[in-house]
Symmetry: C2
Subunit: 270 residues, 2 copies
């Protein structure tokens, strides 16, 4: 049986060089598809391109307009292939209009000095953390198993940090498209600060993939330890910096992820 994520990212290149994709109801968000499934599809489309070489290093995705449910397209452009890396840009299109843009870098994995300098958050094992329920209208949340340790939105908080165990639901071996999707699974940081829903959305997102494909294969379908925090909120925007940890003892930094979001004022000012 094909996993829902694989259904969601599935598509093929047409004769004009556009990757023809379809939004998937398993990744429906409040308005249009979940951005993480869009990111996963873009990364899958690029790696499916016959000219693509190397492993994913970086993906930037700019959400310029809402994506409607249904058919959508990715128009990739190979910018340059170097000896050790390859640069792409792309637009996300729908009904002939550009609704997104971005860029990706792939690279050759070379054996070098290495160190994971950051430290993962200290957390209880996933088995000891309750499954976090999500409201029915956040459809994509049912495609992930989230066990939030800190940073739900039960009560307002001065600290926007969310730390959670997360994996695809049903469980699925981790790969780069899945990791791109996981990068966008943090609820908007303003929800955590205000314990309140409010209009918000990602404007631009950049993920750096530190893991190699071998490390992701070794991780398998285990939980990813994910943590994210905002640094500044104001003037209708806020940022988020996140880390995704996996591998043995969840001590391997698989990806770092950054995004800038818009938001509209919550009703009760804090």
């Amino acid at each position: 049986m094909t996993h829902v994520l694989d259904e969601a990212i599935a598509g093929s290149y047409d004769d004009a060089g556009l990757y023809q994709a379809q939004t998937h109801e398993a990744y429906a968000n409040m308005v249009g598809p979940f951005g993480g499934s869009t990111a996963a599809t873009v990364l899958h489309a690029l790696t499916a391109h016959p000219e693509q070489t190397g492993e994913p290093l970086a993906l930037t995705l700019n959400f310029a307009a809402p994506i409607a449910y249904g058919a959508w397209q990715i128009r990739p452009q190979l910018i340059r292939t170097n000896r050790t890396n390859q640069h792409w840009t792309f637009t996300v299109e729908q009904d002939g209009a550009v609704v997104g843009s971005g860029s990706a870098v792939f690279g050759i994995t070379r054996d070098t000095w290495s160190d994971v300098e950051a430290t993962p958050p200290t957390v209880p094992p996933a088995a000891e953390v309750e499954l976090t329920p999500f409201p029915e209208f956040i459809g994509w949340a049912r495609s992930y198993e989230k066990r939030i340790i800190t940073g739900t939105w039960d009560s307002p908080s001065e600290d926007s940090t969310t730390t959670m165990w997360i994996r695809d639901a049903p469980a699925r071996p981790l790969d780069f498209p899945a990791l791109a999707g996981l990068s966008d699974t943090f609820a908007p940081r303003v929800f955590v600060r205000h314990a309140n829903y409010m209009p918000t959305g990602t404007i631009t997102m950049t993920t750096y993939f530190h893991a190699t494909s071998a490390e992701l294969a070794a991780h398998g379908d285990d939980y990813v330890l994910a943590t994210a925090r905002g640094a500044r909120f104001g003037n209708g925007h806020f940022d988020q910096y996140g880390q995704l940890w996996g591998g043995p003892d969840h001590a391997l930094l698989l990806a770092t992820t950054h995004q800038l979001c818009y938001f509209k004022d919550p009703a009760p000012a804090q």
Copy 2:
């Protein structure tokens, strides 16, 4: 007298819609121009475009190939103008070849709930920190006044954090192009870890501009408090997450900045 940064970012759009720029010897790096001056020029070029609206929110710049000293071009493409934001992509070109790419988002500043959640590092005043000398061959370093508090490369360190007072030299009122340039002024994190120079360079850089133009104007030509750290090193790459602080008491987060770099192994393995 025109400031060297203003000389470096100066240019104009030709009839084909390309912004014609020139590298500037005041921002020469070991190989080609300093990436921060490239970023500053791109941001200046986009804001100089007649169709541009809003203040800078995000800039992603991908370095696909070395830029040679001399004439270079920016080819902007307006992706979409929304009610509250505007999306651009661009390529960086030289002698008809694409040597870089990227995207930028601009937005309308709206008055909303606000909070600076991150905290600036605790540091001595700039006047009490010695000017950090740089070797002659890092030409662009003479265009900045750097007072490094922690994280030079005198001796190897397990912590790649660099925290410093920095401003343009000569002092210049802060604006968005200057802030884009400052985002790239951290020495490569591998230098700090190994206390050693080695081949390294930025592959992709993303800066989120949290400050408004009014906040930058109020900051004036005062020092910016800049701090950056790498999270994972390995397989020929490492990341860097930085924060640029300014405003009253340097407690206002002006920008957060992210980059992914390549590196080649240092001679003495640590």
